[in-house]
Structures are given as structure tokens and as C-alpha cells.
């Protein structure tokens, strides 16, 4: 499961996460810990979640993104979700995530 960590990179204070095919509680808890470690040690200003490979996500993933949003508010940072498929975008909207982060169903905007 820790191969997820290999898909996290930092450049110009932007933390980029290439997410796996399915996001559940197990994946979310690994990401929560690692992203918080990066946020607090590398002065991160932006987080980009790349859903290009992701087909499925449950509410654990929403909680994980929501929690990182709260953290980023302290540094006035922002969060973007890119390459989000239709299903995951609608799951995000159900939880109101579209009101606080930018969600792009296609390429980066």
C-alpha cells in the first residue's frame, strides 16, 4: 500500500498527488499522514490532487480532502482536483466540496 507515497511530489511549494485507482479508508489514512507531514515541513501553498487514474472513491476520500483543505486555510493556500471523472465529481458535489476547492473534470484549467 505504501507505493502511494511514490506518487507524491513537491515543486515550487505545490504538493502534487497522483491518486490510485480506488480511494478508500486505507488509502485515505496513508495520504492523510504523509500529506500533513509534507504540509508542515515544506511550506506548501497549493495541493493538486490528480484523479487521472482514479475510477472510484468513497466518503473517506472526501474526508481526507476536506481535512487537508482545513489545514491549507491556515496558510491561505488552495486545493485543486484535476482529471476528475463524472462519478467522482458528483460524489464531491453531494458533499459540497465544489464550494471550497476547484474541481476540473478534464485537463487543468
Amino acid at each position: 500500500m505504501n507505493e502511494i507515497l511514490e506518487d507524491i511530489s513537491v515543486r515550487n511549494r505545490t504538493l502534487s498527488v497522483l491518486l490510485p485507482a480506488e480511494i478508500d479508508e486505507q488509502v485515505s489514512s496513508i495520504l492523510r499522514m504523509e500529506l500533513d507531514r509534507q504540509i508542515s515541513t515544506k511550506r506548501i501553498e497549493r495541493i493538486v490532487f490528480d484523479f487521472a487514474r482514479t475510477e472510484w472513491m468513497d466518503s473517506s476520500g472526501l474526508g481526507m480532502i476536506l481535512g487537508r483543505f482545513k489545514k491549507m486555510q491556515f496558510v491561505k493556500g488552495c486545493i485543486r482536483a484535476i482529471h476528475v471523472n463524472q462519478r467522482i465529481a458528483s460524489v464531491m458535489r453531494m458533499a459540497g466540496l465544489h464550494k471550497i476547492i476547484s474541481i476540473n473534470e478534464g485537463e487543468e484549467a
Partner: protein, 148 residues
């Protein structure tokens, strides 16, 4: 169509989450579901199993069984997910969208709302100190056009 059934018992640990939802998804393929319908059921199962892992066995070191019982009949899948943990004091409150008993853990509070949204029927029974049983049903459309 004849009735088919399966039962799974596994430990409430996050490493079993993928196994649980994929097993149910595999079992329902006989109904010839769409990709979307499979994703709906996987989400609902995942939400219920995550509840067992995060909430049901709080303070239990060992002996944390989750029991999934699946039935398919007449183009419908019924999934029953049961734990024998702490139970829910106020089921109606727990089922409210955005409610979470663990805000410090950054839960989205959408678990029951998703089960409700992605399935056709949802029933929750719970007794403190005895456990919780979630029963969900979903009609699979494709299966209705196929005789058996």
C-alpha cells in the same frame, strides 16, 4: 430467477476493505449490472464496512468480526452488513448527512447519506453494546431484460 446467497466473515481492519467491496462486486456480476451499478454497490458496501472499522469496534483490540450476507433474487441484490461492536445510541442522528461522531478524525459524515443515495432501500438496526446491522437493497436494471 433462483435465489443465490453468500456469506463473508472478516476482521474489521482497513486492509480488508478492498476485499469486502470487491467480493460483493464479484458476487453481483450474475445480475449483469452496469459499471455504474457496480460502483454504486461498492460505495455503499465500503461506507458500511468503514463504519465497522472506524466506529463499531472502538476500544476492541481483537475479535472484531464483520459479517456480510448477500442475496440476489429477481434482479435485486440485498446486502446485509453486521458488526457486534458498540452499537449506535441514536441511529436517526447518525444517519443525518454531515453528522459525524468523530470530527477530530476528519470524517466527511457522508457514509449513511451515500448508502441511501446509491441503493434503493436502506435499513439500520442498532443496539448499544450489541452491534449494528445495515440492510440495503438495489434493483439491477440490466438483469430484468434477461430471462433465467
Amino acid at each position: 430467477m433462483k435465489k443465490d446467497q453468500m456469506k463473508l466473515i472478516f476482521e474489521a481492519s482497513s486492509s480488508n476493505e478492498a476485499f469486502a467491496r470487491i467480493s460483493v462486486a464479484a458476487f453481483m456480476t450474475r445480475l449483469n449490472p452496469t459499471v455504474e451499478e457496480v460502483a454504486d454497490v461498492k460505495t455503499a458496501v465500503s461506507e458500511a464496512v468503514t463504519n465497522c472499522i472506524i466506529h463499531a469496534y472502538e476500544g476492541y483490540e481483537r475479535d472484531r468480526p464483520v459479517e456480510i450476507c448477500c442475496t440476489v433474487q429477481d434482479g435485486e441484490i440485498e446486502v446485509q452488513i453486521r458488526d457486534f461492536g458498540v452499537g449506535i445510541e441514536d441511529v436517526a442522528l447518525a444517519m443525518e448527512p454531515l453528522y459525524t461522531s468523530k470530527p477530530q478524525l476528519e470524517r466527511s459524515g457522508m457514509g449513511f447519506a451515500f448508502m441511501e443515495a446509491f441503493m434503493d432501500a436502506l435499513e439500520v438496526e442498532s443496539k448499544p453494546k450489541e452491534g449494528t446491522c445495515v440492510r440495503m437493497k438495489k434493483k439491477i436494471r440490466a438483469s430484468q431484460t434477461k430471462g433465467d
